[in-house]
C-alpha cells in the first residue's frame, strides 16, 4: 500500500520533485477534472502523497550528504542543493538563541527549488534587501530581551527590569516599521512571532495578546502560519468576564460589539448608540473583578486609547440621558393620569 501513490503516477519512488510533477502533468492530460472527476481526485491525492514522500526522501538525502561532508570535507555541495544546504546553517549562526528565521521561512516555503534558476531577470526592487536584514536583527533582539541574558547574575541591571518592558518597545518598532508594507516582510514577522508566541505565551501573555490582535490569529480557523495558540485562546476566552461577552443576552455582548467599532464622533448614529449604552460602557471599563483590564486588553489599541483619554469623560453626563428620558416619560404619564 505504501507505494500506491507511485503506481498511480506510474513512476518509481523518487526524491526528485520535478519528476513527480512531470508524471502528474502527463497523467492529467488523460484524467481531466472535467470528464473524470473521480479519477482526477484519486490522481490528485496520489500526487500530493507522492510530493510529500519525495520531500521526506530529500530530507533523508540531505542528511546523508551532511554526513558525507563531515567525513570528507573536500567535495563542494551539488548545485541543485546549494541553496538549502548553505542558507540554513548560515541563518543559525547569525540569529541568536534557538529560532532561526531564515530557516523557518525556507522550510515553510516548500516551493520547488528548481524554479529558482528559471526566474526571469530580477526587476530592480524598490525596497532594498537590507529591510529583511534589519527586521531579522530586530526580531533576534526581541528574543534576547524576552528571555533575558543567558546568565542573569552577570547582568544585574538587565535582570532587574521585567523583560516585557524592554521587549515591548522593540515589538512595537517592528510592527510599525515601514518595511511591514511589503507582504514578504509581513509574513516573515508573522512567522517568527508565531513561533515565539507559541512557546512563550504563558510567560509573556502581553506579547501574545498584542500579536494575536495585530495578526488576527484569534479569528482564523486554520493556517500554515497560525501558531498553535489553542491553550492561550482558551485561557483568554474562559475568563469569567469574557463569558459575559460571549453571551448574546448579556449587555457586555452589545457593548463589546459597539466598542470594537472605530470611534466616530461625526457619525450621529454612533453617538446615539454610545449614549444609549453609556452606562453599560462605563461599567464595562470599570468591571470590578479585574475584568475591566482583561476586556480593555482585548480592544484594539487606538480604540482603547480613545476611550481612556477622554471618551469616557465625554459621555459622563450624556449616559444618563436615556435614564432621564425614561424618568421624564414616567413623570409625564403620572401627571397625565
Amino acid at each position: 500500500m505504501a507505494d500506491a501513490p507511485w503506481s498511480i503516477l506510474g513512476i518509481e519512488p523518487t526524491s526528485d520533485r520535478s519528476a513527480v510533477r512531470r508524471a502528474y502533468a502527463a497523467r492529467l492530460k488523460h484524467t481531466n477534472p472535467e470528464d473524470d472527476p473521480a479519477g482526477f481526485m484519486a490522481l490528485r491525492a496520489a500526487f500530493e502523497a507522492a510530493l510529500h514522500q519525495s520531500d521526506r526522501m530529500r530530507v533523508v538525502d540531505w542528511y546523508g550528504q551532511q554526513q558525507d561532508r563531515v567525513e570528507d570535507p573536500a567535495p563542494p555541495p551539488s548545485a541543485a542543493m546549494s541553496r538549502t544546504t548553505i542558507e540554513a546553517p548560515a541563518a543559525i549562526e547569525s540569529t541568536a538563541p534557538d529560532v532561526t528565521l531564515d530557516a523557518v521561512s525556507n522550510t515553510r516555503a516548500a516551493g520547488p527549488e528548481e524554479l529558482q534558476g528559471s526566474a526571469g531577470p530580477e526587476v530592480a526592487a524598490p525596497g532594498p534587501e537590507d529591510d529583511r536584514q534589519r527586521i531579522s536583527e530586530a526580531l533576534a533582539k526581541l528574543q534576547r530581551q524576552l528571555w533575558g541574558p543567558v546568565e542573569p547574575e552577570l547582568d544585574q541591571a538587565a535582570a532587574a527590569v521585567s523583560p516585557w518592558d524592554t521587549a515591548q518597545a522593540t515589538l512595537e518598532n517592528i510592527l510599525a516599521d515601514p518595511a511591514m508594507d511589503r507582504v514578504e516582510i509581513h509574513l516573515l514577522v508573522e512567522g517568527a512571532l508565531s513561533e515565539i508566541v507559541e512557546v512563550s505565551w504563558q510567560e509573556h501573555p502581553e506579547l501574545a495578546r498584542r500579536a494575536v490582535e495585530f495578526f488576527g490569529w484569534d479569528n482564523r480557523i486554520w493556517h500554515r502560519l497560525t501558531p498553535d495558540l489553542s491553550g492561550f485562546l482558551e485561557e483568554e476566552e474562559e475568563h469569567p468576564v469574557l463569558w459575559r461577552v460571549m453571551q448574546r443576552t448579556h449587555e457586555y455582548h452589545a457593548v463589546y460589539l459597539l466598542l470594537r467599532q472605530t470611534p466616530d464622533p461625526g457619525n450621529t448614529l454612533w453617538v446615539l448608540r454610545t449614549i444609549w449604552f453609556g452606562l453599560a460602557i462605563t461599567r464595562f471599563f470599570a468591571d470590578a473583578s479585574d475584568g475591566g483590564q482583561v476586556l480593555q486588553a482585548r480592544l484594539p489599541a487606538h480604540i482603547r486609547a480613545y476611550w481612556l483619554d477622554g471618551g469616557l469623560r465625554n459621555i459622563r453626563f450624556a449616559r444618563f440621558l436615556p435614564l432621564a428620558i425614561g424618568l421624564g416619560l414616567i413623570v409625564l404619564r403620572v401627571l397625565w393620569a
Binding site: 502533468a25 492529467l28 472535467e34 516551493g111 524554479l115 509574513l187 480557523i221 486554520w222
Partner: protein, 567 residues
C-alpha cells in the same frame, strides 16, 4: 459555439476562441466593453449598455447600474413601473451580449462560460447561473475571474515553468490568486478576496470628497436629491479617471441654475482612500500564507481589472511586493479572453489539447459544533471546517461527528462557509437533520461528507453507518426557481421590448447629449441644443452618410464640452 462572458460590475465583455486565439466580440457601437447598465424607457422598452449608462443622471428612477453587487440577495430594484432582481438585470445584459455575439458570429449562441469573482459564495454563484438561464444561455461553466485572467496570461507563457500572482481589482470585487504553470498544467494554488471592494468604492470616496467640497452650496450630500447625487457620482468617476493622469481633477456641476466648481487633488483622494487600500493587503497575505510561496519567489505580479489603472493601486502593489507589476495583458479584456479559452477547452479545441486547468475552492466549508468546556457548560457556535479552503476541486472529504447527549433523538447539522472560528461570522448555507438512536446517541458515529464540484456547487451527505440512515442536503437556495416558473420568468423578460441593435449608436449618443444639455447653462446649452437638433434632423433623413457625418460632429461637440467619453 460556446462564448466566454465576463459579467462585470461596471462593464461586461464577450469573447470567443477561434482559430487558436481569442477574439473579442464588439457590440453594436463597435466597443468591446458593454457597460453593465439597464434603463427602461417610458414606453417600457429596455436599453442596455452605454445608452443606459448615459441616462444614469437624466433618468434616475429608471436606470440601474452596479447591480452585480446585489447578486444572490433579495434586493429588488424598481425601474419605472417594473421591478427586477439583480439576476434579471444581469440576464438583460447577458442577452445583449448574446445578441452581439450572434451578430458577430452569424450563428445562434446558446452556450456560455460565465465568469464570477473567485470569492463569490454559493448563493451568488447560483444567482449568476440563473441569470444565464434567464437570458436563454446554457451555462456550461462558471469560472473564477482571476483564473480566467490567468488562463489568458498563462497561454502566452505555456512553455515556461512559472508561478505568478493575479491581482484582480474590478469594479466591485477584489480577488487574488496564485498560480503555477508547468508542463501545460495551469494550477491555481490559492485564491482569496473581498466581495465588496472595487472601483465603485473608490468612486464613493470621491463622491464624499466632492460632497465635502461643495457642502456650503448643496448641504449634506447624503441628503441631497437623487438627481444631484447621480450627477456628483458621474463627475466623481470622471474625476477619478482624470487623477490617473494628472495631479488634480476638477469638474463643473450645474444645480438649481448655479454653477458649482469642484477641484480635488491627488493627495486628498489618496489620503481618503487609505482605508480601502488597507483592505487590499489581507487577501494578498492570506493567499501567500496558504501556498507557502515567498513573495520574492513569484515570477510575476499580474494586474487585472479596470481599477488597477489607478496610479494609487499600482504604487500600493509595487510597495507590497517590492517590485513593479506586469502589464503584459489588457486589464479590461483579460477575463473575457480567459473565459473564451475555457470555452475552447470545454469544446475540445485542437489548439488547447495540451492544456489542463485545475482550480481551487476559495473558502472553507464545514458545520457548526458545540464543545463541552473544562469548567462545565457548553461552548456553542464553533465552526468545524470539513473542506479547508484552497483544496483542489473537484474534492470530497469526510469527517466523523457524534451527538452531544445520550438522550438526543436527532442531530442538527448547520452548514456554513467562511474562515472565522465562530459560525456567527460565517455564511449560513443550509441545515440537515440526522436521526440517531436515543439512549446511546453519543456512541453513534455520524459521517459527514462534503463534495464540491468543478462549478463551485456544494453537496452535503450525512450517514449513520450503524443504522444505515442517509441524509442529503440540497444547499439552501432562497430563490431557487421551480422549473415552470423559470420558463415563465424567462418569457416575461423576453417580452420586454428591446430597441433594435442598429439604432443603438444613435440612442447612446442622444442619451449622452441629453445628459450634457442638462448639465449646461446659458449659451452653451443653446449651442448643444442646436447641435443635437441638427443630429436628430440628420437621423430623420435615414441616409447613412448624413447620419454618420452628423454623429461625428455631435460627438466632437460633446467631447469638447465634457472631455472624451470613456468606458
Amino acid at each position: 459555439m460556446i462564448v466566454g462572458i465576463d459579467l462585470g460590475t461596471t462593464n461586461s465583455a464577450c469573447a470567443v476562441f477561434r482559430d487558436g486565439q481569442t477574439v473579442m466580440v464588439p457590440n453594436a457601437l463597435g466597443h468591446v466593453l458593454t457597460p453593465s447598465a439597464v434603463s427602461i424607457d417610458p414606453d417600457g422598452a429596455v436599453l442596455v449598455g452605454l445608452a443606459a449608462r448615459e441616462r444614469q443622471s437624466t433618468h434616475v428612477g429608471s436606470t440601474a447600474v452596479a447591480f452585480k453587487r446585489y447578486m444572490g440577495t433579495d434586493k429588488i430594484v424598481e425601474l419605472g413601473k417594473k421591478s427586477f432582481r439583480a439576476e434579471e438585470l444581469s440576464a438583460l445584459v447577458l442577452r445583449a451580449l448574446k445578441a452581439d455575439a450572434e451578430a458577430f458570429l452569424g450563428e445562434a449562441v446558446t452556450e456560455a462560460v460565465i465568469t464570477v469573482p473567485a470569492y463569490f459564495n454559493d448563493r451568488q454563484r447560483k444567482a449568476t447561473r440563473r441569470a444565464g438561464e434567464l437570458a436563454g444561455l446554457k451555462v456550461e461553466r462558471l469560472i473564477n475571474e482571476p483564473t480566467a485572467a490567468a488562463l489568458a496570461y498563462g497561454l502566452h507563457q505555456r512553455d515556461r515553468e512559472t508561478q505568478f500572482l493575479v491581482f484582480d481589482l474590478g469594479g466591485g470585487t477584489f480577488d487574488v490568486s496564485i498560480l503555477e504553470l508547468f508542463d501545460g498544467v495551469i494550477e491555481v494554488r490559492a485564491s482569496a478576496g473581498d466581495n465588496r471592494l472595487g472601483g465603485e468604492d473608490f468612486n464613493d470616496v470621491m463622491v464624499q470628497l466632492i460632497g465635502r467640497d461643495l457642502q456650503t452650496q448643496i448641504g449634506d450630500i447624503r441628503m441631497a436629491p437623487e438627481v444631484l447625487q447621480q450627477r456628483v457620482r458621474e463627475a466623481a468617476e470622471r474625476m477619478r479617471r482624470q487623477l490617473s493622469e494628472q495631479g488634480e481633477a476638477s469638474a463643473r456641476l450645474v444645480w438649481n441654475g448655479q454653477d458649482l466648481y469642484t477641484t480635488i487633488t491627488t493627495e486628498d483622494f489618496e489620503a481618503a482612500s487609505e482605508p480601502l487600500v488597507k483592505r487590499l493587503r489581507d487577501p494578498v497575505l492570506r493567499s501567500l500564507r496558504d501556498t507557502g510561496i515567498e513573495a520574492s519567489r513569484l515570477d510575476e505580479v499580474v494586474l487585472v481589472g479596470g481599477a488597477t489603472r489607478m496610479p494609487l493601486i499600482r504604487r500600493t502593489v509595487t510597495r507590497m511586493f517590492g517590485r513593479f507589476p506586469s502589464h503584459a495583458i489588457d486589464p479590461d479584456e483579460a477575463v473575457a479572453r480567459g473565459a473564451a479559452i475555457q470555452a475552447g477547452l470545454k469544446s475540445r479545441d485542437a489548439a488547447l489539447k495540451e492544456v489542463v486547468l485545475t482550480d481551487v475552492c476559495p473558502y472553507s466549508m464545514g458545520i457548526e459544533i458545540t464543545e463541552p468546556q473544562a469548567q462545565g457548560g457548553l461552548m456553542t457556535g464553533i465552526f468545524s471546517p470539513i473542506l479547508v479552503r484552497n483544496c483542489v476541486v473537484p474534492v470530497s472529504r469526510e469527517q466523523t461527528y457524534s451527538a452531544l447527549d445520550d438522550r438526543q433523538a436527532f442531530v442538527e447539522l448547520n452548514v456554513y462557509q467562511g474562515e472565522s472560528r465562530w459560525v456567527r461570522d460565517n455564511v449560513f448555507l443550509g441545515r440537515l437533520e440526522v436521526p440517531v438512536q436515543p439512549g446511546r446517541a453519543r456512541e453513534i458515529p455520524i459521517n459527514v461528507r462534503f463534495s464540491y464540484d468543478i462549478n463551485g456547487l456544494l453537496e452535503v451527505n450525512a450517514e449513520v453507518p450503524l443504522t444505515g440512515i442517509r441524509r442529503e442536503l440540497l444547499v439552501y437556495d432562497p430563490e431557487a426557481i421551480p422549473a415552470g416558473e423559470l420558463e415563465q420568468r424567462r418569457a416575461a423578460l423576453a417580452a420586454l421590448k428591446v430597441h433594435p441593435r442598429d439604432t443603438e449608436r444613435v440612442r447612446a449618443l442622444l442619451a449622452r447629449a441629453g445628459r450634457c444639455i442638462e448639465a449646461a447653462l446659458g449659451e452653451e446649452r443653446a449651442f448643444l441644443n442646436a447641435a443635437t437638433s441638427r443630429f436628430e434632423a440628420a437621423v430623420e433623413t435615414q441616409d447613412p452618410r448624413t447620419i454618420a457625418e452628423a454623429s461625428d460632429h455631435l460627438q466632437e461637440v460633446l467631447d469638447q464640452f465634457e472631455g472624451r467619453s470613456f468606458l
